[in-house]
């Protein structure tokens, strides 16, 4: 068994109003020096050793992310 992390982020050119709302809230809460926030999704998968990288990529691109609007990164944590 291994833990696999898939991080999904909106593509840079896609407007992220949720991230902007968080960024705009920070100064009001007294946190300064943060110029931008982008909000995405973080998935943690417990996978058998038999699951290869190609299968993980298929899961990430065909289901966990929408390639029209999002980029993803797959990482195996040992």
């Amino acid at each position: 068994m291994a833990r696999v992390v898939v991080d999904v982020m909106p593509k840079p050119e896609i407007l992220d109003p949720q991230g902007q709302a968080v960024a705009n809230a920070l100064p009001r809460l007294g946190f300064t020096g943060i110029s931008d926030v982008r909000q995405g999704k973080h998935f943690e998968l417990e996978v058998d050793d038999s699951v290869d990288d190609e299968t993980l990529a298929k899961i990430a691109i065909g289901f966990l992310s929408n390639p029209v609007i999002e980029d993803f990164v797959v990482r195996r944590l040992s």
Binding site: P10, E13, I14, L15, P17, Q18, A21, F63, L64, N66, V68, I69
Partner: protein, 223 residues
């Protein structure tokens, strides 16, 4: 009488109104179930609005894998008219039948209003009954209605005249180019965020501007 299928997923809300709109327009609505890989001999399909599968993951992301959607994709590629309304539009985009995606409204609020639209293309299976450039008012009600696509995709849609509906008085969600609805290249598949099925009778909606969409397809499939 022409049969128009209306799909129900877990979390669909507007299947009853869509079926009622089909009846008002003179067609026979046929209930289709998400779990059945069967279109029951219908002549066209409506994928109605709601929150299929709770909008988990992304709006429409899980519904596109439902058994019935496999049949819809095959039939649509073969020319069967398909209309996606709101969540239905999101599902058609996730299924790859229409380009682009629908994202969280730019204002981060659920928007519910009577919305003014311009009908930009009447040479589709679902808009043949409108006059070119007609201004119509039908309700919009969604959280994830902001149409997004790559610049090249939007240019292609504009260049090929595939923007079918455009927001006119205000853009309620930050959609690129004020896009409210688009079509496939052949005009058989149309998706839009506002709800024509809620505007078929002045008693229960802002008017009856949505009814022509359902009448249009009945004219198309009978032709």
């Amino acid at each position: 009488m022409s049969k128009i299928g209306v799909i129900t997923f877990p979390g669909t809300l507007d299947d009853t109104d869509a079926a009622r709109a089909v009846r008002y327009a003179g067609g026979e609505p046929v209930a289709l179930w998400h779990g059945d890989a069967d279109l029951r001999g219908v002549d066209a399909v409506i994928v109605p609005g709601g929150f299929s599968y709770g909008d988990y993951l992304r709006a429409g992301a899980i519904a596109r894998f439902a058994p019935v959607m496999g049949e819809v994709v095959t039939a649509a590629r073969g020319g069967m008219p398909v209309l996606g309304i709101c969540n239905g539009f999101q599902i058609l985009c996730e299924a790859g039948l229409l380009p682009g995606a629908l994202l969280r409204n730019a204002g981060l609020h659920f928007v519910c209003r009577d919305q003014k639209l311009r009908v930009e293309r009447t040479s589709t299976a679902w808009t043949g009954g409108y006059a070119d450039g007609a201004e119509i008012v039908i309700p919009v009600k969604n959280m994830d209605g902001r149409f997004a696509a790559s610049r090249s995709t939007v240019d292609e849609l504009e260049g090929e005249g595939r923007v079918v509906f455009r927001y006119t008085d205000v853009n309620p969600n930050g959609s690129l180019s004020d896009i409210a609805g688009i079509s496939s290249a052949d005009g058989r598949i149309v998706g839009l965020m506002p709800h024509p099925e809620h505007a078929i009778d002045a008693l229960t909606g802002p008017g009856d501007d949505g009814l022509a969409m359902f009448r249009s397809v009945l004219g198309t499939v009978l032709a």
